[in-house]
């Protein structure tokens, strides 16, 4: 239950609020293997979310082609689940109905009713079925978003900084949950993140992107055995390598920008 995704020579241009054309992606090529966990990482403006939205079918490229299992991607589909950074749960639905949304929309709710409680349990939210999104914590909200995407049994799960708004403890917890679900379902995972540690901890490969225009600059294999140790020697070496790519490894004598 996983798919390979093929991205060929993709350009994406959008017009900003001033009416200027901005090249968000320029000739991007990438092959994502079936069942792979891949991370897109880079500074803001490098087009990682743009690329993810193209894979999801939410936007269309101006040039090039994206395909899944050799079929052209044409519009959004439940076969490519999507987890937004935040605020995508429906506030008028409780946890249970948010998770069941996809089944209901596709007319499968009666047939697969049992799946709803199964997925609630899978993300550890039993007892919160009747809670509304504003009544649960940020980490729980993202678990609901993940369960809501997975209940459609997607071939690929696209994650747009799903842990970006969480504190580091909740984040580590959710990362482990994500790995667990990935092992269980074997779904192809594509994660957008700006957190280098997160990318190394989770992925098989890390795609490094650079901005203006958005491009893939390197793809790094993470050949570390799982479970990975966040403080391990190889882990830290890889971390250093990536930091050097972004020229962040050395202390800057005179920083040009302040964050």
């Amino acid at each position: 239950m996983s798919s390979s995704i093929n991205i060929q020579n993709v350009d994406r241009i959008y017009t900003d609020t001033d009416g200027k054309a901005v090249q968000a992606l320029e000739s991007v090529d990438l092959d994502i293997r079936a069942g792979e966990f891949i991370s897109l990482i880079g500074p803001s403006g490098c087009g990682k979310t743009t690329l993810l939205r193209l894979i999801a079918g939410l936007d269309k490229p101006q040039a090039g082609q994206l395909s899944i299992d050799e079929r052209k991607i044409n519009g959004a589909s439940p076969e490519r689940g999507y987890v937004f950074q935040q605020g995508s749960l429906f506030p008028w639905l409780d946890v249970e109905h948010n998770i069941a949304y996809g089944l209901r929309a596709r007319g499968l709710l009666r047939q697969k009713k049992a799946n709803v409680s199964e997925y609630i349990k899978m993300v550890g939210l039993d007892g919160f079925e009747k809670s509304y999104p504003h009544q649960i914590s940020g980490g729980m909200v993202q678990r609901v978003a993940i369960a809501r995407a997975l209940i459609n049994e997607p071939k690929a799960l696209l994650l747009d900084e799903p842990m970006g708004a969480l504190d580091s403890f909740t984040r580590a917890d959710l990362q482990d949950k994500l790995l667990e679900l990935w092992k269980e379902k074997g779904t192809t995972m594509i994660l957008v993140t700006h957190d280098i540690d997160e990318a190394i901890y989770l992925s098989d490969r890390i795609v490094i992107m650079t901005p203006r225009p958005g491009k893939i600059s390197r793809v790094i294999d993470v050949a570390l055995p799982r479970p990975r140790h966040r403080g391990g020697v190889e882990f830290l070496a890889l971390r250093r390598e990536i930091l050097e790519l972004f020229e962040l490894a050395q202390a800057q004598p005179q920083p040009e920008y302040t964050i």
Partner: protein, 359 residues
């Protein structure tokens, strides 16, 4: 261990007991009993005033016969008024007894006691100043007993007119809500509809519905449909306006999330756009409701063969101001009840908002 605990807690217990005994508040039985008497005494005073003061106004005290459960009861308006006051006193005393064993209820009851007393007192003063001693100009200020008389004398006719008003309101307002929500959704969802319809709505929407009355009365087959039409348009524009606003303000991300989950366009309207617009729809409904009451009464006064507005107009012609007041009292009760029902529906529908928005 347990003995030590008992020893420690014993003096505290005694102390708190002493405190409750000493405290002069709603927890004290004597205090609360006095509060009940206080709440009820206003109505008792009003009843005494009614029986003790001589009737100065030249009002015939007629006997009315009421048939209830095959009993014929003969009573005057003063009897009926005193009976109602007694009933109010019994009801509030009963509420006090019910609150006896519950401190929260005692507190609420004690808080309301002063207002209830004042209510009874106001009735007594109104009675004295009105029909009894005629301090206020007559016949514009009939006493409370005379208002009750309107119900005794005209009960069937008042009921008929009330039902007429209700029928008019129900037909007009329900059509207005349906049309308003429907057009609001179309305007909010389809940019083309927005382009063509929204400006029309915006301009015609500010015109008070009753301004269309001359057209409504001449162009529509009968006066009932004319009044329904007026209520419809006053609800329609307001609700459509706010529904459209609610749909348009739905975050794009919600639609994207729904699309990826497998939602069709129709499904997105039903399960994303409308739920998101629901708070705005209810804002529209509540404000349209207030306007619908105005339109209802005005159109009844200006060209209906029935209804409470018509009853007021007709009573005014005969200078029967006590009947005017009787109709106003019914309106106050009826419209409050309708508002209350709408409020309950709103609270239930928007229960997901509890704790999110500042109420």
């Amino acid at each position: 261990m347990s003995t030590a605990a008992v020893k420690l807690s014993a003096p505290v217990k005694a102390d708190s007991k002493a405190k409750t005994k000493a405290a002069w508040n709603y927890k004290n039985n004597v205090y609360f009993l006095l509060k009940i008497l206080f709440a009820v005494s206003g109505f008792i005073i009003a009843a005494l005033v009614n029986t003790a003061f001589p009737q100065k106004a030249a009002v015939d005290i007629k006997n009315y016969v009421i048939t209830a459960f095959s009993f014929n009861i003969s009573l005057t308006m003063n009897d009926a008024y005193v009976f109602i006051l007694a009933a109010l006193a019994v009801i509030y005393a009963g509420a006090g007894v019910r609150a006896w064993s519950d401190n929260d209820r005692r507190k609420k009851y004690s808080k309301r006691a002063a207002f209830r007393f004042a209510l009874g007192l106001a009735l007594a003063l109104w009675d004295i100043g009105g029909t009894k001693l005629q301090f206020f100009p007559q016949p514009f200020f009939p006493g409370p007993a005379q208002v009750i008389e309107a119900y005794l004398a005209d009960s069937e006719y008042i009921l008929q007119n009330t039902l007429y008003s209700l029928r008019l309101y129900a037909a007009g307002f329900s059509c207005g809500v349906l049309l308003g929500v429907g057009t609001g959704i179309l305007i909010g969802w389809f940019p083309k509809v927005y382009y063509w319809v929204f400006p029309v709505l915006k301009i015609t929407g500010v015109v008070p519905a009753v301004a269309w009355m001359p057209f409504a009365l001449t162009l529509l087959p009968n006066s009932f449909t004319a009044a329904v039409f007026l209520i419809v348009i006053c609800a329609w524009f307001q609700i459509a306006f706010l529904t459209a606003q609610g749909i348009q303000s739905t975050p794009k991300q919600s639609f994207e999330a729904a699309r990826i989950l497998g939602s069709s366009s129709v499904d997105q309207i039903l399960h994303v756009a409308i739920p998101h617009a629901m708070p705005d729809i209810f804002t529209g409904i509540t404000s349209a409701n207030a306007m619908a009451f105005t339109t209802l009464v005005m159109s009844e006064m200006l060209g209906q063969p029935g209804g409470l507005g018509y009853y007021i107009n007709q009573s005014k012609v005969w200078s029967a101001y006590y009947k005017v007041l009787a109709a106003i009292v019914i309106m106050a009760v009826l419209f409050s009840l309708i508002n209350h029902i709408i409020g309950r529906i709103q609270k239930h529908t928007l229960r997901w908002q509890e704790g999110v928005v500042k109420k």
